[in-house]
């Protein structure tokens, strides 16, 4: 694992976010924010037969939260909802390929929290 938070792949996703915007008629939509830094993420999913067929995110915040959201959208396309329910911190860290301290970890995990709260149909993802 790299210890460079700002390795090129992350900056690239931040500067050129994939799947950013909104879906026409999402089946699942969820929004949350990180109270410590004001990062905001909205995630929308289009689901057919339990499979994610389209995904989009919107929001603003630091490079870590926004790049993570962008990467995550690419990752989940075509995946069954059930599989998303099991995604965890390790999955995100692996995806990012970086080591993160406790404070910035919140930024990296925000998109996952939003995704899981949406997929599980919860009001808020319990920390």
């Amino acid at each position: 694992m790299s210890d460079d938070l700002y390795r090129e792949a992350i900056l690239d996703h931040y500067k050129h976010p994939r799947q950013k915007g909104h879906l026409a008629a999402p089946d699942i939509q969820f929004h949350d924010h990180n109270p410590f830094c004001g990062d905001e993420i909205t995630i929308e999913l289009k689901v057919e037969n339990g499979i994610v067929v389209d995904a989009a995110f919107d929001g603003h915040g630091c490079a870590i939260s926004q790049a993570t959201a962008s990467m995550l959208m690419e990752e989940i396309l075509g995946k069954p909802l059930e599989e998303l329910k099991a995604l965890d911190k390790e999955y995100i860290l692996e995806m990012l390929g970086i080591q993160i301290g406790p404070v910035r970890l919140k930024c990296a995990l925000l998109p996952l929290k939003v995704l899981k709260a949406g997929v599980w149909g919860l009001e808020e993802w319990p920390e």
Partner: protein, 409 residues
């Protein structure tokens, strides 16, 4: 066992000192506040010299390090008391603030006229006064479980005192005066039977014996760092998660909020909802080190050691003429002995013992109702900890004899 104690004593720098009279310190005031091992002092020193910074909101190296250490300490404390999750460990200033927090939040949200809060006659003021203040504001009824002549809770009265009206039952785990270790299992079962919540004051238990808040089935459990080898300025409130989640916040400010607008605010998740403002960071880290230290010694060893000292002290002190020990025999008590000495006021006992280097406390030990129960204004108290020895008990007894000589007519 004494060999082990000798090694332990080397961890506590203060035990090398002498007092004003030149006598070596014999510190028997542990129930008021314990001494600190080097590991604890060092942990805080290290924080201030190497990575002092405000926690939670910081992105830079120091703040990341401080946050990891502070939250790591919370996890250590959670493991130490067997809390299901570190989020249920709320840092306060001490037992007193922990109990006041419950009164201000859970109490204010749940108690109304007609309800009853049951406490006991052997409580520390910290578990009496917050309920009196709240009663005067909300109009519920406050009742007390009486204490027997032997210093035990009079359980026969529970049938009458613990009823459907009882919403909360608060009691001390181990008394700081009579030393009694209360039968938590039975008390909790009785409370459950009428649907009352239970708050346990663990100020004198957590430092001295293994405590498992889940096994005790406590709804709330409070204790202080400074009595368990940790620093001043920090303590803990443990609570069941559903209760803590449902409670309104106590103080308002930074860190405890999720969102603030001019119109209003939303609360942060546990434990931060109850930790407004910059927390006691160095103190949290010091408490973590204290818990590590005690665990390295082993709480069962601590308890066994104190039992040995207490039994020995009980026997030797009983031989002193005119000395009256408050509370039950050594089997039912924690490591402390409060007593009176005929013809000598407790303050004078403490002052004269001090000449021999012996530090004991004198007064009502913040348990005035219990002293009133025994018809005395004050008592003297010797309280032991893992570093005390039977040889120190001998110094105490010798000094008690000298005290009597000074006051002989």
């Amino acid at each position: 066992m004494q060999d082990r104690t000798e090694l332990i004593r080397q961890d506590f720098p203060i035990l090398q000192r002498t007092v004003a009279s030149g006598a070596p310190l014999v510190y028997l005031d542990n129930a008021a506040s314990s001494q600190k091992p080097v590991a604890v002092i060092q942990a805080m020193d290290d924080y201030y010299r190497r990575y002092n910074a405000n926690v939670h909101r910081g992105v830079h190296t120091l703040s990341e390090e401080a946050t990891a250490a502070f939250e790591g300490a919370r996890e250590k404390v959670a493991r130490f008391i067997h809390a299901p999750h570190s989020r249920q460990v709320i840092f306060t200033r001490g037992t007193t603030e922990s109990i006041n927090l419950v009164a201000h939040t859970w109490g204010r949200a749940n108690l109304r006229p007609g309800d009853e809060v049951l406490i006991t006659e052997m409580e520390h003021h910290a578990n009496i006064v917050p309920w009196q203040i709240l009663r005067d504001q909300l109009g519920f009824t406050l009742r007390y479980v009486p204490v027997t002549d032997q210093g035990l809770l009079d359980l026969d009265t529970l049938d009458e005192l613990l009823t459907e009206r009882t919403k909360l039952f608060c009691f001390v785990h181990a008394s700081n005066v009579v030393g009694t270790i209360n039968p938590v299992d039975e008390l909790v079962a009785r409370a459950r039977a009428v649907g009352a919540r239970v708050l346990i004051d663990g100020a004198q238990s957590v430092p001295h014996m293994a405590v498992d808040v889940q096994a005790l089935d406590a709804d709330f459990f409070a204790f202080s760092s400074h009595k368990l080898c940790g620093p001043t300025g920090i303590g803990v409130l443990y609570g069941k998660r559903d209760l803590l989640e449902a409670m309104p916040p106590f103080m308002g400010g930074g860190d405890m909020i999720r969102e603030v607008t001019m119109a209003g605010s939303k609360w942060n998740s546990l434990p931060y909802k109850f930790e407004a403002g910059t927390p006691a960071i160095a103190e949290g880290i010091g408490l973590g080190a204290a818990v590590d230290y005690l665990q390295s010694v082993g709480m069962d060893w601590v308890r066994a050691h104190e039992q040995e000292i207490t039994r020995y002290a009980y026997d030797r002190m009983s031989e002193v003429e005119g000395l009256r020990i408050l509370g039950p025999g050594p089997e039912q008590r924690g490591g402390l002995i409060a007593f009176t000495l005929e013809g000598v006021h407790p303050h004078d006992i403490a002052a004269l013992l001090d000449r021999s280097g012996v530090a004991v406390r004198a007064g009502h030990h913040c348990a005035a109702p219990l002293h009133a129960r025994y018809g005395i204004p004050a008592s003297a108290r010797a309280s032991f900890y893992l570093y005390n020895t039977t040889a120190e008990v001998d110094v105490l007894v010798e000094a008690l004899h000298k005290t009597q000589e000074v006051f002989a007519l």
